[in-house]
Subunit: 339 residues, 2 copies
Amino acid sequence: MSSLRDVAERAQVAVSTVSAALNGTRPVAAATKRRIEQAAAELGYRPNLLARGLQSKRTRILALLFPTPAGGFGHTEMLFATGAAEAAKELGYHLLLSPESADPVDELRHLTGLGLVDGVLLMEVRLDDERTEFLSAAGVPFAMIGRTREPDAIDHADIDFAATARDAVAHVAGLGHRELAFFNLSPGRYAESYGPAARMAGEFATAAREAGLGYADGFRPGSAEEGRQAFERLMAERPGVTALAVADDHAAAGVLAGVAARGWRVPEDLTLVLVLSSARAAAMFHPSLTTLEPPSAELGRLGARMLIDRLQGDGPPRQRLVPCRLVPGGSSGPPRAGS
Amino acid sequence: MSSLRDVAERAQVAVSTVSAALNGTRPVAAATKRRIEQAAAELGYRPNLLARGLQSKRTRILALLFPTPAGGFGHTEMLFATGAAEAAKELGYHLLLSPESADPVDELRHLTGLGLVDGVLLMEVRLDDERTEFLSAAGVPFAMIGRTREPDAIDHADIDFAATARDAVAHVAGLGHRELAFFNLSPGRYAESYGPAARMAGEFATAAREAGLGYADGFRPGSAEEGRQAFERLMAERPGVTALAVADDHAAAGVLAGVAARGWRVPEDLTLVLVLSSARAAAMFHPSLTTLEPPSAELGRLGARMLIDRLQGDGPPRQRLVPCRLVPGGSSGPPRAGS
DNA sequence: CTGAAAGCGCTAACAC
DNA sequence: GTGTTAGCGCTTTCAG
């Protein structure tokens, strides 16, 4: 690999001039600059990021910290990562994938001590997240995909749960439904303090109330079997429910089984909406499910951009909430007769 | 951040001694060593990876090159990445997530020219892959998850398609089936030269022949609708088929719809096996599908380990083939009567 | 507008 | 066993 010095020799100038010409750090005569650029091109010169980083204290590398939930990784998490990596790349940054171990804070201490990364992108943020405290205290720039309980001071991109719930409620209300139920993510898969689960439930209740719809929640099935059972219980307790929003793919499959077991059909007898899941998953069902798809790739992208933005200059916290996208499927219809 | 010099001062020794003590590069008196380690601990010293890399030409960073297929990323690809990242971490390496653009070779030229990465991990390798040629020519260490047409000289970890096909065939043959069909990945989603699609079809044919089973293939549905149509066509052409292996999730959903439309049921009237898909996806079906789940995380892990192994020392090509894991589901049963 | 020189934090000869 | 020293390739004063 050729170095700055090689370029300098070939262009008959000093290294500092080459550096300046290539980085635009200071004015360079047009003729000199052209000579330098040509020499660089001829040699196929690439700046050595290590040397540059060592000197400038900026590596243009971001770390994406990802936990390894027992339940395995979802499509959503994948999209955070790819979205963030793409946005980083577009802005001339690199993304380091950093798996979290048992002690995330220690992990972070280690990672940030290496001088390798300029900033950190946090995902799977919990309502109370020790990682944010550490990073703030350590003065390491970071941004969150998701948010803590009190996120006002921190850069973040998250789902707009309120708008999402309103959209979902408006969707079913527009079809004529008067009573809606919501099956949240199971408490087993995620701790109670998992933001999306906590927020989605609250926002659904609010949106239903504001729309004047009957509303039932408190169900948290985490598997197909639990989904079927929850559905049966729901129908026993609230026979008037004609629309159901479900947050877990597997639970939704169970609900469909329960619907079939009753001799019912979707969407004739029940409108079923999948929330916080991918349209890809929804397309595997029959009929395909109406979905509120989280803007995962965009959140990843936004997170990376915010972080880079923050690294380049200071300013007030950057924050963005993006609603899920409503993807209509074959599972939405008017309420069943006789309800 | 404290540096080697700080530690040296505090321990009253020379920097080189600290370096030696901490890296074990040369013998250091036990007492001195302890003093140094204590000083380092007290200062919370972390070696600066950039400085180390600049000097030693080894950054302990690997790049995982991942393409961004239009169809979006699957669970499988995600597991490659997380598996690789975890293995890398265990061995003291970092993983850079590097999205591929339109021109992968140019991308690679850029990435490897930066001096940032010690080696490259390739995924979604095609039978003829220009990236491998570039990397070989450039002398950049690399390993593949997947493999080219002629992979003998290159480190790689891939699915053992032959064993996987044999397992699948043995599974259905053991249940008493005499005639099997295979729906491959759609040609639209992947180019013809996509390894798994190409290899799986061949191995299924071989395994069926060796087991003395009737065999039908040539179907490549890429959506639920195409899956249903393919199933109907299959039944028209080969009414004796009682077991079906499908490589695409959505196509499998379509097959189930086709089965229902005939008034049939799974597994009573058709044994359905999902291949190369996740057990997670299979659990969303009713009944849950028997799956041949690719060992994606393990392949990622193996790939990273091979690459690191290669970086540490030379030797013959490292190569590992791992069969898919058969996860029995509710979609397997004896062949229907009258066939 | 350009060049010379210092030094980022570390490793690796090479002396002692 | 330990210390001294010369860079790795770059950015960044500081002179000219």
